[in-house]
């Protein structure tokens, strides 16, 4: 279902936005002019997606700067650095705005970070920033691993670490004594080349080891001063590679060591902290299934045909499942919104050997055919969380667009066509990142699952009926005849799940029974607004003189959960009444696989009537009860029975 009719999106790929860029610029300018900030933030996001780069950032930053000052929701961030960090300004303002926060930036002259912190009358404190960043390159903290490296003996290295430890502790404690603003401090990145060359990594006193000890000290200090957080600058440089990250030309010419293309990445890293600090971290991840958690469409390819497992592309989907799983363990609430047959999905969870995620990992599961925005609304209601805390992930651009329009609060991640890119796509923005993880976070998934289970019992049939009606199901009941006989026999032979007696018949065996007037039999075909399911059910009954005994009642798993069995029992009631019989008798013969049919008689008002040979007998007294046709079915008499 999700593979077809995917229109090209301008936002996909690295190419400039082309046609959309001027329109998005104009739109965001208009929205800002009338102070529609929430809308402007969405448009800014689209603009940065379709035309990423300095020009868009400058455009947004200039327009955001012209907004009235002291607008509620605006935050001030101070950037203290040992280098020219002003080239980051536009990217930071634009990225934060697209993520929902208007930032005003205060930047003192570079390399004055010590004075700004130590001087109680500095502008840093006068500005009363909401957040402070301390961006200092390793060589600007300590000359030990750099210019002084070969002058230091081993115990001098220890003294260099102690000196750094003392200085950082003094600076951060002083800051904390004067400001309550959260402080984000960079840790120390390794340079591209090592002082000891190929020996460095092995040496206990190599440059890498020394920087490692400095980072250990930094981490200890950060943990000991309240509300200090560590920007993993070393991780960021590593992710992109030091040779890409740094621009030695600009380092030496303009004191701006970070390459132009990488400045935006650093801005995005700060925005993760800003998001977490303003309470904007997302809490719930809603995933699609087909071509998202596995490759292919289970309704078409079958459980054994979907791509999931050790070899590509199944391996890519497995990696993505690992990330979703890990997020769940971190406290993110997981949910599913999929257009599928519930039975197909259940089957994948139940028996696909490579599924890493279990159905129990998901606090809410919406599998059906209603609009995904409806599914997301139900999920949010059932979990009692706001849509502004939801992230939706889907490979289908049409579904993504539907959510963007219907539920703009939801953060939508449109997956690229290559499944190996899914992990990076979901990781990139750190949407779920928080500054602490509690035991409660780790248990949250369980709590929400329990709450969801209770809610779904209370929700009752109302929403389910809407779903059935929404399907616009048309049902065709037809006597078994020459045209339908092969399909009827085939269904008796291969239907295992929804099958009360699992009696296997050949075509001639069915034909032979139906030549006897005491036997009756029909097939059921179902069409819905998504297409024709063909013949999906078979019933055979025998007139015992007192009752109509149900010999066979089966349903293809494609349509389980849609009340087709109710319609079939209603038809059997009609047949029994037409023969002047007073009861319908059913028999359930349990097998290893037919649990889905186990409660069908009980659910429809049959009374238990003993049993024998491990089977259960059920009886519906037609003088007091009938099974009624579900009102959401349109009954057709001919046409699709082939």
């Amino acid at each position: 279902m999700t593979e077809s009719s995917a229109p090209e999106r301008a936002s996909d790929g690295a190419a400039r936005g082309g046609d959309r860029e001027p329109a998005l610029r104009q739109l965001v300018a208009e929205q800002l002019a009338r102070s529609s900030l929430a809308e402007a933030m969405h448009t800014a996001r689209d603009l940065l997606a379709s035309a990423p780069g300095r020009r868009s950032c400058r455009y947004l930053s200039e327009r955001i700067a012209s907004l009235p000052k002291l607008e509620p929701g605006a935050r001030r961030i101070a950037l203290l650095s040992s280098f020219s960090i002003e080239f980051l300004h536009d990217a930071l303002v634009a990225t934060a705005f697209a993520a929902g926060t208007r930032l005003e930036v205060y930047q003192p002259a570079f390399a004055t970070f010590r004075q700004e912190i130590l001087d109680p009358s500095s502008r840093l404190y006068a500005e009363q920033p909401d957040f402070v960043v301390l961006a200092v390159e390793a060589e600007d903290w300590s000359t030990g691993p750099f210019g002084e490296f070969f002058a230091l003996r081993d115990d001098d290295q220890a003294a260099a670490v102690a000196r750094f430890d003392d200085e950082l502790m003094a600076l951060l404690s002083t800051f904390r004594g004067r400001s309550a603003a959260p402080l984000l401090v960079h840790n120390l990145a390794l340079p591209a080349w090592r002082k000891l060359g190929i020996l460095d990594a092995k040496s206990a006193h190599g440059q890498a080891a020394l920087i490692g000890r400095l980072n250990d000290a930094l981490t200890r200090v950060a943990r000991s001063v309240a509300d200090v957080h560590v920007v993993d600058y070393a991780g960021l440089v590593n992710r992109h590679g030091a040779l890409n990250w740094y621009d030695d030309r600009m380092r030496l010419y303009a004191r701006a060591p970070i390459a132009g293309a990488m400045q935006h990445r650093l801005a995005e890293e700060y925005v993760k902290f800003v998001r977490a600090l303003v309470g904007g971290a997302r809490k719930c991840l809603v995933v699609d299934l087909d071509n998202t958690l596995w490759g292919g469409v289970v309704g078409e390819d079958g459980v054994d045909g979907i791509r999931l497992g050790p070899s590509y592309p199944g391996s890519a989907y497995l990696r993505f499942q690992q990330l979703v799983h890990d997020l769940g363990r971190r406290g993110v609430i997981l949910a599913i919104a999929s257009k599928n047959n519930p039975a197909d999905v259940d089957e994948v969870f139940a028996r696909h050997p490579s599924m890493l995620l279990r159905k129990e990992d998901f606090a809410a599961v919406e599998v059906g055919w209603s609009a995904k925005s409806e599914s997301l609304r139900r999920i949010a209601a059932r979990l009692s969380i706001g849509l502004e805390h939801v992230v939706f992930v889907d490979d289908n651009p049409v579904e993504c667009e539907e959510i963007r329009r219907a539920l703009p609060q939801v953060q939508v991640i449109a997956l690229p066509p290559q499944p190996e890119r899914y992990v990076a796509e979901l990781e990139r923005e750190g949407l779920f990142d928080t500054l602490a993880i509690s035991d409660e976070d780790r248990r949250r998934g369980d709590l929400y699952r329990q709450r969801a289970a209770a809610e779904s019992v209370r929700a009752g049939a109302g929403s389910l009926e809407d779903f059935y009606r929404d399907l616009a199901m048309e049902i065709i009941v037809a006597p078994i005849g020459p045209v339908t006989l092969p399909r009827a026999a085939q269904l008796t032979q291969k239907t295992n799940q929804f099958n009360v007696t699992t009696r296997r018949y050949t075509e001639s065996e069915i034909a032979e029974r139906l030549r006897d007037d005491s036997w009756t039999g029909f097939t059921v075909a179902v069409r819905d607004r998504f297409g024709d399911n063909g013949v999906v059910g078979v019933a055979l009954g025998r007139d015992t003189g007192r009752a109509l005994e149900i010999d066979t009642l089966l349903l293809s798993c494609r349509v389980i959960g849609r009340t087709v069995e109710t319609a079939m029992l209603a038809q059997l009631c009609d047949d029994a009444a037409a023969r002047g019989l007073v009861a319908l008798e059913g028999r359930f013969l349990p097998t290893a696989k037919n649990a889905p049919a186990r409660d069908v008689f009980e659910r429809h008002g049959f009374a238990r009537d003993g049993g024998r040979d491990g089977g259960e007998n059920w009886r519906l007294d037609l003088s007091t009860r009938r099974v009624h046709w579900p009102v959401w079915f349109v009954r057709a008499t001919e046409g699709a029975a082939a």
Binding site: G53, R55, R58, Y59, E86, F87, R249
Partner: protein
């Protein structure tokens, strides 16, 4: 191609220096545009490098002080 490069340079300059596209001409230079200071010069160079997928040497960066010399600098790289 020259016309195309000229036009794209004009757009980058208009965006980064926040000046009117139509006002950019042969006399547009660091001496005549107030916002075109040394910091914005770096911003402009980085935006040009991003736009055209090129990298300028420091000598070239220092020579690109006017609209015509920026166009010439980009054309020399393309």
């Amino acid at each position: 191609m020259t016309a195309d490069v000229t036009e794209r340079v004009r757009q980058v300059m208009a965006d980064i220096l926040q000046i009117d596209l139509a006002a950019i001409g042969d006399d547009t230079s660091m001496d005549t545009v107030e916002q075109w200071d040394s910091a914005n010069h770096i911003n402009l160079v980085l935006a040009l490098e991003e736009e055209f997928g090129v990298a300028f040497d420091v000598g070239e960066i220092e020579a690109m002080t006017s609209f015509p010399s920026v166009v010439a600098g980009v054309l020399a790289k393309a």
